[in-house]
């Protein structure tokens, strides 16, 4: 299993090369991989349905408790088969859909990366490993949504999807880590046994909310649903595969997978069920307002995801059964419908519902697929979706109070009928609406065969439901509930409330379908309200972010060196001052009594010269005063027993002044740049900083400490290092490495001066 997934990643390298050789036939070759994977997983059906699980593990980052461990049970197997099976069809379909596209190779690469990551997500047994694959699905989704990257809407939709799911992803990561901390393990199979411990842990609520945030952004739950309709910018095969059949169900998968650990509390029910319900209603309602068929499908997908979430929120055995059934049914009919819409778009050039009609004669195979799938979507007998719906009613009728959920599901069911009609029936029935640029004709078989298979499967499973129940659904539900379950789906349960409700919804749906144009018109006044939805908040917050970012950057990175210095000095003074004032330092101010008069004079001369430098209006005077300061420093060195320093300082000061003078006459005279206020501000800051340094020096010199190193130097300077001038011995011997660095600095400085004066790679100055 591990190797299958890893090899799928590796295989993503090849399509670009294959494309160069095989051109549009690449699809058939690439499809071999998902087909093989489907076959591989199909082998496990027997074993899993008899209650077994398959576990594989490879060490990855054991020091963090992260294993590349895979765990195949009923739920994973169901997903794996959906992913690889639908993947096969989508790959074949894309070969024709994108025939001749110059980036077809890269498209397949990304698609394969996605498939591998999605498989990894549903197979992973370690939450962090799961997260790794989870993020990879988000990112491959980003690349695929933005596949038509020359179009701005595509790029923006891609970014939006990435940001929303990415934000959720990070919440999920935090949730997983907290979960791992609370439960002491990151392995899902071990976590499942620790449900009680987790639910009673103080971190339970944050864990739950963070994980829900991850799952709900990924599965486009309200209020994060808006990215999914926008993601319809992707090529239709992508919308089919990622944004309807598989990736968006990852959130549902995660909820189902972790429900034994997290579910069963009041907060779970009070959050998951209402969110699912609201999403279901919002999606269903909004889907009716759309005219672009892809958007119709997208919103109904949002609604369906809401439905599954709602059922997982309810959490009972029948609810879990309903969720799993609905998931399968939805994947089949919605995938087929998307592919059909793709064919329509491809062959007629439009997906506006108003412009399509009467195409059955021109494209009978596609039409058949569309009608079958629409039929399933509407939930008519004997489709599998009908069974799923019945089961849903059965589950929600058990809840208390049942009325809310029942009503909600009734409304949603009604809308699904309309959606099925708009997307599956309307384009093919009735009279042809208008002339298209090219006469509509049937798509190549590689395109229509895919939706046809899916749509037919949706009906076939409905007619013969028991094998599916026995081999797939039972073990999947068992995995969700962590208890052996027996699912026996059947078309006919006898005349009961469920049948009544679903029939009523169907009839209501048909009525609404017939009156759909009127309904849409009557909803038009709502449009301004709808534009204030969560998506508006999303763009608002991005705009805010931009404003804040602009403001802070303008303040901080103003380009004015004096402000940079000011901030640096203020920060330094503030932080250092604060850390000093935290304690009561000893200043030792009484230590001035040993002052000699010439020292005092020297200090006064030194300070006066600095004042001259600061205040002088003449550049030459300032430089001269700088020289005086330097010589005064040299004298101080001399007075306090540092002849070497005095000599060096003297020489260097002379040299510096000479250099300054040589440069000085090239510079203009002083001019007044800063205002009096600025000067005052700077003076205050500088004085405070200087005062702080003074205090620091006083504090540090008040410490009595032994001179630890001096005795060694006086002892060994002559005997071992053969020199009487200890300072020089330190420089060339004891600490010779410093000096080596220092002459390197000098050498580089000279190179720098040389290059500054001689090298000019830019254009002539002054332009």
């Amino acid at each position: 299993m591990v190797w299958i997934v890893l090899l799928s990643f590796v295989s993503a390298f090849f399509p670009p090369w294959l494309c160069r050789v095989l051109h549009s036939r690449t699809g058939w070759i690439v499809a071999l991989l998902p087909a093989a994977i489907t076959a591989y997983f199909a082998r496990f059906i027997e074993e899993i349905s008899s209650g077994g699980t398959v576990v594989e593990s490879m060490g990855w980052v054991p020091c963090l408790g992260i294993e590349l461990s895979f765990h195949l049970d009923g739920l994973s197997l169901l997903f794996a088969l959906l992913i690889s099976g639908i993947g096969t069809l989508v790959v074949i379909y894309s070969g024709s859909y994108l025939a001749g596209h110059y980036q077809l190779g890269r498209f397949y690469s990304t698609l394969l990366i996605f498939m591998a990551s999605m498989l990894g997500t549903v197979l992973a047994d370690n939450v962090i490993t799961l997260f790794v694959f989870w993020e990879l699905t988000s990112f491959s989704s980003y690349l695929l949504i933005g596949f038509n990257s020359d179009q701005k809407p595509a790029r923006e939709a891609a970014l939006q999807a990435l940001l929303v799911t990415g934000a959720g992803g990070l919440a999920l990561l935090a949730g997983f880590l907290l979960l791992g901390q609370a439960a002491g393990t990151l392995e899902i199979s071990a976590l499942l046994a620790k449900g009680d411990a987790v639910r009673s842990h103080p971190f339970y609520v944050p864990i739950l909310l963070l994980i829900l945030a991850g799952a709900m952004t990924k599965s486009a739950q309200f209020p994060f649903h808006f990215w999914l309709p926008n993601a319809m910018q992707a090529p239709t095969p992508v919308s089919t595969y990622l944004h309807s059949a598989t990736m968006v169900k990852a959130g549902v998968y995660l909820l189902a997978r972790l429900s034994p650990v997290l579910a069963g509390t009041a907060i779970w029910e009070n959050v998951v069920t209402p969110v699912g319900m609201i999403t279901m209603l919002t999606g269903a309602f909004l889907s009716l307002l759309q005219t672009d068929l892809k958007l119709v499908l997208a919103y109904s997908t949002v609604s369906a995801l809401g439905g599954m979430t709602m059922m997982l929120g309810v959490g009972s055995q029948p609810a879990a059964e309903a969720a799993v059934m609905f998931l399968v049914a939805h994947a089949l009919y919605k995938g087929a419908l998307f592919l059909v819409v793709g064919i329509l778009d491809h062959e007629t050039g439009t997906r506006q519902s108003g412009r399509l009609g009467g195409l059955f004669r021109a494209m009978p195979a596609t039409g058949l697929a569309g009608i079958l799938a629409g039929f399933s979507m509407a939930g008519f007998m004997p489709s599998f979706n009908f069974i799923a719906k019945e089961q849903t009613y059965a589950a929600i009728l058990e809840t208390t109070p049942a009325v809310f959920l029942t009503a909600a599901f009734f409304v949603a069911g009604t809308c699904y009928v309309v959606v099925g009609g708009i997307t599956g029936f309307q384009p093919f029935t009735g009279r042809p609406r208008e002339r298209f640029l090219k006469p509509p004709h049937e798509a190549p078989p590689s395109m229509w065969v895919c939706p046809l298979i899916m749509a037919a499967a949706g009906v076939l499973v409905g007619v013969f439901p028991s094998p599916a129940g026995k081999y797939m659904l039972s073990s999947a539900v068992g995995a969700v509930l962590q208890a052996p379950s027996e699912v026996q789906p059947a078309l006919w349960h006898g005349p009961d409330v469920k049948l009544f409700l679903s029939t009523a919804a169907m009839l209501a749906g048909i009525c609404l379908y017939l009156a759909r144009a009127k309904f849409r018109r009557s909803m038009e006044p709502l449009t301004p309200l709808l534009s204030k939805g969560p998506e508006h908040l999303y763009s608002l917050s991005l705009a805010w972010l931009d404003t804040i970012a602009c403001a802070q950057t303008r303040v901080l990175q103003s380009g004015r060196l004096n402000l940079y210095l000011l901030i640096t000095i203020v920060t330094t003074t503030g932080l250092v001052g604060a850390s000093m004032l935290e304690h009561e330092p000893i200043l030792g101010l009484e230590r001035w009594s040993d002052l000699h008069i010439y020292e005092a004079i020297l200090a006064v001369v030194l300070l006066t010269s600095t004042v001259v430098i600061v205040r002088s209006r003449s550049r030459l005077a300032a430089v001269a005063a700088l020289g005086v300061v330097g010589y005064a420093v040299a004298l101080l060195f001399l007075l306090f027993s540092a002849p070497d320093l005095a000599m060096t300082q003297f020489c260097i000061e002379t040299l510096s002044v000479v250099l300054l003078v040589m440069v000085l006459y090239r510079l203009p005279r002083y001019r007044d740049y800063s205002s009096g206020k600025e000067r005052f501000r700077d003076a205050v800051v500088a004085t405070l900083a200087g005062g702080l340094i003074t205090a620091l020096v006083l504090v540090a010199t008040a410490v009595t400490r032994e001179a630890r190193l001096t005795p060694f130097f006086t002892e060994h300077s002559l005997l071992l290092a053969k020199g009487r001038n200890i300072v020089n011995v330190i420089l060339v011997d004891f600490r010779g490495l410093d000096t080596l660095g220092e002459i390197t600095v000098l050498a580089v400085a000279a190179l720098g001066v040389y290059s500054l004066l001689k090298l000019n790679t830019g254009k002539k100055s002054g332009d």
Binding site: D644, N728, L731, D733, I743
Partner: protein
């Protein structure tokens, strides 16, 4: 007028100052002085010469390009540190010849290190001053 005096004076001062600088370098290990100060004195001699006679002439008198002085200095200093490595001693361990030489005292690797410092300081200062003057 001043430049004439300087021009004449520096012709005689140059060798004297260079001698002084070497003296400062040599005695540095035992009395105030050393490679830095020596190098600075030597370079000030050349700087004065350049002021009086121009950069070109002083370059000719100097014979070696300042950049090569720097390179030589770095090389000397670096390799004097490397010598002890061949005797299986750490970098920059002082190694001394047994014989005592007048003025210098004992001769050893630290001396060559100081010589390197001298050369680098001389080269650096002259490189800076020459390139500023050439503008």
């Amino acid at each position: 007028m001043i430049s004439l005096i300087l021009a004449t004076a520096i012709r005689y001062l140059l060798p004297l100052l260079l001698l002084l600088s070497v003296y400062i370098l040599l005695r540095g290990h035992n009395a105030p002085g050393g490679g830095f100060i020596g190098g600075l004195v030597a370079s000030s001699a050349f700087a004065l010469f350049a002021l009086a006679h121009g950069v070109d002439l002083s370059k000719r008198v100097l014979r070696i390009a300042p950049r090569n002085l720097i390179t030589a200095g770095l090389f000397t200093a670096g390799s004097s540190g490397c010598v002890p490595l061949f005797f299986n001693l750490p970098f920059m361990t002082g190694l001394w010849f047994e014989t005592h030489i007048n003025v210098i005292g004992k001769l050893g690797t630290p001396f060559f290190f100081d010589l390197g410092v001298f050369l680098v300081v001389l080269g650096v200062t002259l490189m800076i001053i020459f390139s500023l003057m050439e503008e």
